[in-house]
Amino acid sequence: MTESPLAAGLRIRGLSKSYGPVRAVDRVDLDIVSGETVALLGPNGAGKSTTIDIALGLTRPDAGEVTVFGRSPAEATAAGLVGAMLQSGGLLTEVTVRELLEFAASVYPRSMPVAEVLARAGLTELAGRRTTKLSGGQVQRVRFALALVPDPELLVLDEPTAAMDVETRRGFWASMRELTAAGRTVLFATHYLEEADQYADRVVLLARGRVVADGPATAIKAVVGGRTIRATLPGADPDALRALPGVTSVEVHGDAVSVRSTDSDGALRALLSAQLAAHDVEVAGADLEEAFLSLTTSGASA
């Protein structure tokens, strides 16, 4: 069977890129099939933006191959197949939102009608406003609108909700859902596990430039999710702690214990029970950075 170019989606093979001594991206392989929504999850410096910039043809890789719908990234973007919301990016000054989008529509080979772009990005009310008079969240929406202008098959969003408040964030993802219902492919970078979990079909975990996990959100959540419980527990037995509900890792330093659990409620109840009598208890939410570090170190020793 011959594959249509669109079905090829995004294909990354053996991608590496260094900035001086820093390996930003280290032999990354990634396949995104057409119609899929994939989250690139990782802490700052994990290589998310570098991977995205290469996939868009903005940065040249040191090694590896990238094809977008069977073409080179530069060809795919020039053909208007890709819409992108880059991480940092100001807006043109001395123009209104509508003028900015009209200009953008004129420089793409094909485009969605500006009125539709405005509606989809929730900007109809703000169309006549100057770009310099927008709030941080509104600027993000305009940048999202710019990504929609070419009516792209692949949407690439680098930390799209960074400057948004909770409500705007929800609205943003609602309009994304509507868009992807039409079979568009989406790749977005985030460092919020929750966002990846709620909106992606698949999550790719990046840490220190490498893919450390790739799978459905639920599977990733089991690896990096959960909470860390820290407590004082004199004479703690690491094996007993490991047997607590949902525990994935245990650390004991003298009287101080640190337990990571996917069932923090259960583990907490057991820790505070008569038998264990832990005190000075602290519970912290999933710390991605920490989870990634443990994943990469265990990956390296395995």
């Binding site: 043809g57 890709v82 200009f103 420089v107």
Partner: protein, 247 residues
Amino acid sequence: MTATATATYLRTEVRRTLRSPRYALFTIGVPVGLFLVLASLYGSGTQDGISGTAWIMVSMSVFGAMGAAVSIGGRIAGERAIGWTRQLRLTALSGRAYVAGKAVTAFLVAVPALALVYAVGAAFEGVRLPASQWAEAAGWSLVALAPFVALGIWLGQWLTVDVLGAVSGGLFTALGILGGIWVPVDQFPSGLAAVSRALPSYWLAQAGREPLAGSWVGWHGITVLAAWTVAFVLLAARAYRRDTARA
């Protein structure tokens, strides 16, 4: 790029410039204001075969036009700084077309700068010229603006916004004074006058004045202007390649 896309790009750029408070102040306000003041002080007599008032009028008109041309550098530097040029790399607008659009815009927004000073000269300062001479003065001024447009593009591709502000401000003032826009070059010491006659600003001013004396800038002037234009274009091209290679 299609014709409609080009038109939309130029319309957007011209509109943006006309809305900018910097443009209104430095390209229109300052030259017109200085013209009125200087004409009342030094407008009597003649200089280079034209009336003192007409001489000052042309000086101020090219001063404003020069500002309009060089100021596109600030726009380019600013758009590089905020990542807008990166966003544009995801469109069908090529880097060359982007720069070319900026250059055309510089010439277009220089027109009101020239026209307004001329209008003030005709309406309030009693400068009376046949229509053909007005047109020739404006036309040759625009031709002679080429090196400044290229200079603006070079600086914008090369420098950051902050550095550019300082550099172009200093350069602009120096080129104005040394080029005889404020004080006639024949009042300079001979060594300095020779330096003057090698500068594009001197020939820009001459390009605007000569038609008023029934002449034109001449081949020598055209050669000097062309040499500066080529030099700045080459420097701009090199800065552009370096800037895009860095990403």
